[in-house]
């Protein structure tokens, strides 16, 4: 180690107060920093400490400049509302066309806004949202401007024509669409209509490059983001942190003419027929369920899709297509209701993506009980008829 030797006289001289006849020293004052400041590991640790957890946890990924040798600044009172960021004079616009089923942004739409913010913040641009019904969640999602599209009902061709007019008139550097049934359709219509370069199903996106799979997912294509980009789900994180103003703007859209679609009718999924991978709500039985007739009646009454653990499928009590788990179907459901399932790792793998799990099991220490948002330690054989009776009772007042 080659640390310079400490010179006590020089250290003392650093505390000397200038002026005055007699030499005076203020030993309490911190000397003027000389050379590299000393690290204070305790202060760094205090900054990395995650508040609000029972166990002591450090989060070293926080990108805060660590104040050295200084006493740690007291954390300021958390702001009640996120900071509003106003972009008054945008250099350019990045447009987003979210699906927004029923006027509410989906998770995929929020990711789209995250991508648009990334592209816009690169050069001082603003994010413009094209929506059918302006909702309140656009500002927090990251929209600076909002433009209402003049469409009614299901008419993608009219939407594409309106977007084409906006594309020609406004300074839109990029237009982002979700790669979903409606978003993908609209993006391709607009690409065919305007002849602009189009990038379908982008799997990663940054201001410098977008990538996608091509040639049967054997080749990755990459280029700088073109004007029209269609973004796959779960590729970019949604925007968070600042609030944006979502200012309504006006634009003279051309008058829409009648489309080729004569009528459109939405048919909700029939949970009894929909495949397990697509289902939204799965009710599943395991080895703890012996009365399968009641189980089937319960599934029908709850309007869910039936599932099962491997034990039941192996025993032939449920079809193999109903098996949930690593060697069965990996669910994409929002809610999973497990009756008498222990929660073996192979089974839990199939449930990993579910947001909400409800479990009924007699064993308090079952893994499924630990995983569940609502866990009930009870006999499934008794809960099922009680639930059925309750549903029937509510149905006939």
């Amino acid at each position: 180690m080659s640390r310079p030797r400490k010179d006590p006289r020089a250290a003392r001289a650093a505390h000397r107060i200038a002026g005055g006849a007699r030499p005076r020293f203020d030993l309490a004052a911190a000397p003027a920093p000389a050379g590299r400041p000393r690290r204070d590991p305790r202060a760094e640790e205090r900054l990395a400490l995650v508040p609000g957890t029972l166990r002591r946890r450090l989060d070293r990924a926080q990108r805060v400049a660590v104040a050295s040798a200084m006493p740690p600044a007291l954390p300021e009172a958390p702001e009640a509302a996120p900071r509003l960021r106003v972009i008054a004079e945008p250099a350019f616009l990045v447009a987003v066309v979210p699906d927004a089923p029923g006027g509410r942004l989906s998770a995929h739409d929020r990711q789209l806004f995250g991508a648009a913010r990334m592209l816009a913040d690169e050069g001082g641009g603003a994010v413009l949202a094209f929506v059918a019904q302006p909702g309140e969640d656009l500002g927090p999602a990251g929209a600076d401007r909002v433009l209402a599209l003049p469409v009614s009902g299901h008419d993608p061709e009219a939407k594409a024509l309106a977007l084409n007019a906006a594309l020609a008139a406004l300074d839109l550097r990029h237009v982002l669409f979700p790669e979903s049934t409606d978003g993908g359709d609209l993006a391709r219509r607009l690409a065919a209509l305007s002849g602009e370069p189009f990038f379908a199903g982008a799997e990663s996106l940054s201001p410098k490059a977008v990538t996608r799979a091509a040639r049967g997912r054997r080749v990755e294509q990459r280029r700088v983001p073109p004007r029209l980009v269609n973004l796959a789900p779960d590729a970019v994180a949604p925007h968070a942190g600042t609030l944006h103003e979502a200012l309504p703007v006006a634009f003279a859209f051309p008058q829409p003419s009648g489309g080729a679609v004569l009528s459109a009718e939405f048919i909700p999924a029939d949970p009894a027929k929909v495949s397990l991978a697509e289902a939204d709500f799965v009710v599943s039985a395991g080895n703890g369920v012996s009365d399968l007739d009641t189980f089937r009646a319960l599934v029908a009454a709850l309007n869910g899709t039936p599932g099962a653990s491997r034990m039941l499928c192996d025993a032939g009590l449920m079809p193999r297509s109903a098996q949930v788990g690593a060697s069965g179907t990996v669910l994409d459901a929002r809610v999973y209701f497990a009756l008498g399932i222990a929660g073996a790792p192979q089974h839990l793998q199939g449930v990993a993506k579910c947001e909400q799990v409800i479990a009924v099991n007699t064993d308090l220490h079952a893994a499924m009980i630990e995983r569940a948002g609502l866990a009930i330690v009870a006999d499934a054989q008794k809960v099922m008829p009680a639930l059925l009776a309750l549903l029937q009772q509510e149905r006939q007042p």
């Binding site: 979903s180 990755e220 679609v261 004569l262 008829p385």
Partner: protein
């Protein structure tokens, strides 16, 4: 009623060998069933240098295959547009996206634009409408939902993988079917603007906390998926458990009170 099915030169996703694209074989099934019910003939169209394994499509129920011969790398759209305009088809079916080429699913849209036809995406089932000259299309949406549309023919419809599985391959049908080669229109393929490299799967976003959120939020998002961290009821009466479950499902918006 004249029906055309557009067949592209696909590649098998695992072996990489030339193979028909599954969703286009599903389109053949939809076309054949509509044709069988309402009297109509189905023609397959391919534009490219060679048919290769596309002759298998004849075994999957197609009666006639037209090959628009193009040399090497050329844009299939002008050849297809010319052949489709000449054939005056009432219904044109295409796949949602190819498999083995650009795979962007843009070709049906450019064709619809040049032919001036309405285009409907992602059909899972087809039926003729009550009024003559209309077609009922069941569009596949996310999570198994459907949208039933009624369109005026002629129209171009792309088929979704949720459509019924292709008809099984029959050797006799493959022998019976005829294929015919015609010269296509040569149009130079647009020069590629993309850089290509071997595919590398990208990690999907799993952290539910957004960028810019606090450490606490990120920690919650990372750990809470593994443990529900919710309510635990030990040995409730069955009725109480049932009430609890129902209230929870209601809060999630699943079981509607009737």
């Amino acid at each position: 009623m004249k029906i055309a099915v557009l067949l592209s030169a696909g590649r098998h996703p695992v072996s990489g060998r030339p193979a028909p694209v599954p969703v286009e074989l599903q389109a053949i099934r939809l076309a054949v069933e509509i044709g069988r019910q309402f009297g109509g003939d189905v023609t397959g169209l391919h534009a490219g240098p060679e048919l290769g394994p596309l002759t298998d499509a004849l075994g999957h129920g197609l009666a006639r295959l037209v090959h628009l011969h193009n040399e090497g790398e050329s844009d299939p759209a002008p050849s297809l547009a010319a052949a489709l305009a000449e054939g005056a088809y009432d219904l044109i079916l295409a796949g949602r996206a190819g498999q083995g080429g650009e795979d962007s699913g843009l070709l049906p849209y450019t064709l619809a634009r040049t032919l001036g036809l309405p285009i409907i995406a992602d059909a899972a089932a087809l039926a003729l409408g009550e009024a003559p000259g209309t077609l009922g299309v069941e569009q596949a949406l996310a999570r198994g939902a459907r949208r039933r549309l009624l369109v005026r023919l002629p129209a171009l419809v792309t088929v979704h993988p949720a459509a019924p599985a292709p008809l099984p391959f029959a050797f006799a049908a493959a022998r019976r079917g005829s294929s015919e080669a015609r010269p296509g229109r040569h149009a130079p393929a647009p020069s590629p603007t993309v850089e290509e490299r071997p595919y590398r799967p990208r990690p999907k976003l799993i952290a539910k906390a957004a960028a810019g959120s606090t450490a606490l939020e990120r920690l919650r998002a990372a750990t809470e998926a593994a443990s529900g961290g919710g309510r635990l009821l030990v040995d409730p009466a069955p009725e109480e458990a049932a009430r609890e479950i129902l209230a929870h499902l209601r809060a999630l918006g699943l079981v509607t009170a009737r």
